[in-house]
């Protein structure tokens, strides 16, 4: 180790000299810079500081538009006049806001909230008092401009939903970013709009764009003198949905008298054509800034219009679940297509009688007839042979009990009970009698309308489970394709061809045979397959006439359908809450009309519209 310390600094001397010169050079440069700023340009900076009137204005990014599958705009932007105040330029902010409120004769201005918002940010940043004022208000404010220093009118884009409540649950809405959201999303400022619900929320990053801004110099009254620098905004991307606006609007109309949900999707790729949840709401109310009482009314409404029943509503699937039990029975060999079971109107098991919906019984039935006529006793016995865990396995394979993964928030998974589940949940063993309820889609079983639509689609297409999606493409503002959404396979049901064939044959006869429970879904020229379901909300000790029952205790009506049977193009799930009638009476007609209208749209003139949908279809199309 050479450690001759004497020589150390000598070899550094030259480098140190250079370092010293470097230090001198850089500090001199800074000195010169200071000379330039403070002596050379001192006067002009001084005048700028004396009336420091440089304002930072945010240029909102134009949010991307949303189109349906045929290019019809579902969500648009239109210019709106917003009343803006810059707190620093007012003499008395509270007074100014009150005056503006008086001129506008508007009741929706919350002075307290605005003052609180103003305190939370720099005084030179504009604050929106009211969005989207009408022309009269514009004129009034212009004429009183001198009394209202600091108040100005800004033109900004306002989100509009031209069809109002149509598809509201899927499209969602936007609103001003909340404080909680500010914490989670960097890059947002107070006053920015953000997607709060539906596609507007879950596709926020694609739709939003990049806000720009400008530094402007204003005079002492806050009037704009010139733009010092400017960063332009970047428009958000446009979305093309798989939704068909016409079918959506038509279905929405059909469901108007009911609470419930309808989902229609393409079995061959999972594209959602229609997603209706009733009652609905008007997203325009949110875009222009929802008033307090409006919000209270919406959120406290007992029918829960903000709830997207298609993905958040979990209902017992009732007899539609027999599709699952039938598939399990055939695959597991619990029955063959020729196995016959006698139904005398009830089944005695463990000291209890489990009723069939048909009091007098169905007589001797095989699987086909049991599905067509929806015989409960047949499925009680099949369920007993299978056991709950086997049924659960097939239910999972067909997509029940797990969220479908649609790109919307708050999707519910439904519930498919197993013996393990029950032990974990209630610390109780599974009772064999409970399996009987599960076999006919009652008991603990819960499913969302979207899951049921996907289930029937999976059966229809031969066992492939696609991820239901509603976005087909994202386009950049210039029109080029940014990303296109490809169908995604979630899994396969792994059912034998013969099983699927057997079930599809039965489902065809549910609609087309004389003894079928779903005859009301029959179309004249195109074969429809389907299954009815009536799920009990209330365990009835003895038969009570439905109209004597309080509405919230009445049965839910289900119908799941696909058509054409041979080469399915559409799968439909209809759910009507507390319908007061069975699936065949209440839900099947809706599925009929939806299918009918769909084929009228796709087959064009060559397709003859059946019965009632005729006039309506022409009106809406």
């Amino acid at each position: 180790m050479q450690l001759n310390s004497r020589e150390a600094p000598n070899e550094m001397r030259r480098r140190l000299l250079f370092s010293g010169l470097g230090v001198l050079g850089l500090f001199s440069a800074l000195g010169l810079r200071l000379y330039k700023l403070q002596i050379g340009e001192g006067e002009s900076w001084r005048s700028l500081s004396e009336n420091n009137r440089i304002r930072l204005q945010r240029i909102t990014a134009t949010r991307g538009l949303i189109y349906d599958r045929n290019g019809e705009p579902l969500v648009d932007n239109r210019p709106s006049f917003d009343v803006v105040v810059v707190p620093e330029d007012t003499t008395n902010l509270a007074d100014t806001i009150q005056r503006v409120a008086a001129y506008l004769e508007a009741d929706g201005i919350n002075v307290k909230a605005l003052l609180a918002a103003a305190r939370a940010r720099p005084p030179y940043e504009g604050l929106i008092i009211k969005r989207d004022v009408d022309w009269n208000a514009v004129v009034t404010l212009e004429t009183h401009q001198l009394e209202l220093p600091g108040v100005s009118l800004d033109v900004g884009p306002l989100r509009t939903y031209p069809y109002g409540p149509v598809g509201a649950h899927l499209l969602g809405y936007v609103g001003e970013v909340s404080e909680a959201e500010l914490g989670k999303h960097p890059g947002y400022r107070m006053g920015d709009l953000i997607g709060k619900f539906g596609a507007e929320k879950s596709w926020e990053t694609r739709l939003r764009g990049v806000p720009g801004g400008q530094q402007i110099e204003v005079d002492a009254l806050g009037r704009k003198l010139r733009v010092l620098s400017r960063v332009p905004q970047t428009q958000g991307n446009n979305m093309v949905l798989t939704l068909d606006r016409r079918l959506q609007a038509f279905t929405e109309q059909l469901m108007e008298p009911h609470d419930g949900a309808v989902v229609a999707l393409r079995p061959d790729n999972g594209e959602i054509l229609t997603l209706v949840s009733r009652p609905s709401f008007d997203p325009n109310v949110f875009a222009r800034g929802i008033k307090h009482d409006e919000w209270r009314e919406l959120s406290n409404n007992k029918t829960r219009p903000l709830n997207n029943r298609a993905i958040q509503g979990q209902y017992p699937p009732g007899s539609t679940f027999k599709i699952v039990t039938a598939a399990a029975a055939l695959e597991e060999g619990a029955v063959t297509p020729f196995t016959r079971i006698f139904c005398g109107g009830g089944y005695h098991f463990a000291n209890r009688t489990y009723r069939c919906w048909k009091k007098g019984g169905h007589g001797t039935v095989d699987l086909h007839r049991a599905l067509v006529e929806s015989c409960d006793v047949y499925f009680y016995q099949v369920g007993q042979r299978l056991g709950v865990d086997t049924i659960a396995d097939y239910a999972n394979r067909l997509g029940l009990g797990v969220p479908t993964g649609i790109t919307l928030d708050h999707e519910k998974p439904g519930l498919i009970p197993t013996s393990d589940w029950k032990r974990a949940r209630f610390n109780e063993p599974w009772f064999a009698g409970e399996t009987l309820s599960v076999a006919i889609g009652q008991g603990y079983v819960l499913a969302t309308p979207l899951q049921m639509a996907n289930l029937i689609a999976t059966v229809a297409n031969g066992g492939t489970r696609y991820k239901p999606h509603f976005v087909r493409r994202i386009d950049n503002p210039a029109g080029g394709v940014l990303e296109s959404v490809e169908p995604e396979v979630l899994g396969t049901a792994n059912l034998r061809k013969s099983t699927l064939l057997q079930i599809r044959e039965a489902l065809r006869d549910v609609v087309n045979a004389r003894n079928g429970t779903g005859k009301k879904a029959k179309l004249d020229t195109i074969e429809v397959g389907g299954k009815t379901g009536t799920s009990q909300v209330f365990k009835m000790g003895k038969q009570i006439k439905t109209h004597n029952l309080a509405k919230h205790l009445r049965d839910h009506a289900w119908f799941v359908a696909f058509a054409p049977v041979e080469a399915p193009e559409i799968a439909i799930a209809v759910l009507i809450e507390h319908a007061g009638g069975g699936g065949g009476a209440m839900a099947a007609p809706i599925a009929h009309d939806v299918a009918d209208f769909y084929f009228a749209l796709t087959r064009g003139r060559s397709y003859q519209l059946a019965g009632g949908a005729d006039s309506r279809a022409e009106e809406r199309a």
């Binding site: 310390s5 550094m12 810079r33």
Partner: protein, 378 residues
């Protein structure tokens, strides 16, 4: 420990260096007072007092750094480095978040910024390394591998906080020490060649990134980066400095500062506050103080007894120098805004204490330049 029994040690204590440092600290504390002054209530918040308290702690730390033979540090180098790194690793695990990045460790009533301590530790390790590697014909390229490996972990950890500015200062300090240690002509040529190749490749690489990717990288490195926000800060800072004019607006009379137009006024933009109130005279005076501190420091390096001391003192000075240049450059609008404070001047406890401790080491090197060599007992 025997405390400075040697009379000669006291005699060689560099009072000039210490007085230069103390004057800068005093001016800084006064500016922090002004920055936290509220004209409405005619009161200042506690920042200035706290800064004075930190300065006292710093003085204790500096004295501690003078009391032992700095050459002992050569033996403690790895330990220091490991300790610093340990603190830095703790930051992402238990550190506290402010302004969107995690830079602090909380210790009861006060919190520390381990990146500041890590800087000193890295300087010590590098000083030790170069001390042994230096050769008359210059450093070979392969001699630079180990320093880079030493610097990499802290730089990566600090980038992840994220604190782009501090990571940059680390790199500048390492580069400065390499330059002092003296790469061979061949190493210079290779490094220059690589740099020359990278410069034209850079725009090519950048142009192949999609705009959103570029943006993502930018926001990763610097989350506060908002073209408009940062631009706004710079223009307000320039207004403050420029409007100070020749003699300034007077103590507590800077309008830019008092009206809260200046962002981060007691930390990153403290110079704007000072410059607005004390004008060109004050600013040039402050820069002259920094210049004097640097040149005096370089004299110490030049006189140091052996290479370890010279490298150690030089590293400490390089840190002060680059921070000062970057901060002054950004407040005057010459450099982009990265969060770097003005050394000895901005408000901030960890930074002030470690900077003062560092200068204590420089004074130590100067004091012991005639002391017999005692360390190497390998």
């Amino acid at each position: 420990m025997r405390l400075m029994v040697d009379r000669r040690l006291v005699y060689h204590f560099d009072a000039v260096l210490m007085l230069l440092m103390l004057s800068i600290i005093a001016m800084g504390t006064v500016s922090v007072y002004s920055a936290s002054w509220d004209p409405h209530s005619a009161r200042a918040s506690a920042f200035a007092w706290r800064q004075a308290m930190w300065a006292t702690f710093g003085a204790v730390a500096a004295i501690a750094m003078v009391c032992f033979d700095y050459r002992k540090l050569e033996r403690w180098a790895y330990l220091t480095y490991a300790g610093g790194l340990l603190l830095l690793v703790a930051v992402p695990l238990v550190g506290s978040v402010s302004n969107g990045s995690r830079r602090w460790l909380d210790f009861g009533p006060f919190s520390v910024q381990p990146s500041e301590m890590m800087k000193l530790a890295l300087i010590v390790v590098l000083a030790r390394y170069f001390h042994r590697k230096m050769r008359p014909e210059g450093l070979r390229l392969r001699d630079l591998i180990v320093p880079v490996l030493f610097a990499l972990p802290p730089v990566i950890l600090i980038l992840a906080q994220p604190d782009l500015g501090t990571a940059g200062v680390f790199c500048f300090v390492v580069a400065s020490m390499v330059v002092l240690a003296g790469p061979s002509p061949r190493t210079w040529a290779t490094l220059g060649g690589v740099a020359l190749c990278l410069v034209p490749a850079l725009p090519y690489l950048l142009s192949h990134l999609k705009p959103y990717q570029l943006k993502r990288i930018q926001t990763f490195l610097n989350p506060e980066l908002d073209p408009l926000g940062a631009g706004y800060h710079v223009i307000q800072s320039k207004i403050a400095i420029g409007s100070g004019g020749f003699s300034g607006k007077g103590f507590l009379h800077g309008t830019q500062n008092q009206l809260k137009f200046l962002p981060e006024q007691h930390t990153d933009f403290i110079f704007s506050v000072f410059s607005e109130e004390w004008g060109f005279i004050g600013s040039i005076g402050l820069i002259a103080l920094y210049l004097a501190l640097m040149l005096r420091g370089l004299v110490v390096v030049n006189r140091a007894k052996e290479r370890f001391g010279a490298l150690l003192a030089f590293g400490v000075l390089a840190n002060v120098f680059w921070q000062a240049v970057i901060n002054l450059g950004m407040t005057t609008g010459l450099l982009p805004v990265v969060g770097i404070t003005l050394p000895f001047f901005s408000y901030g406890g960890s930074s002030l204490v470690t900077l003062m401790a560092g200068l204590g080491l420089v004074i130590n090197v100067n004091m012991r330049r005639f002391s017999p060599e005692r360390i190497p007992n390998f």
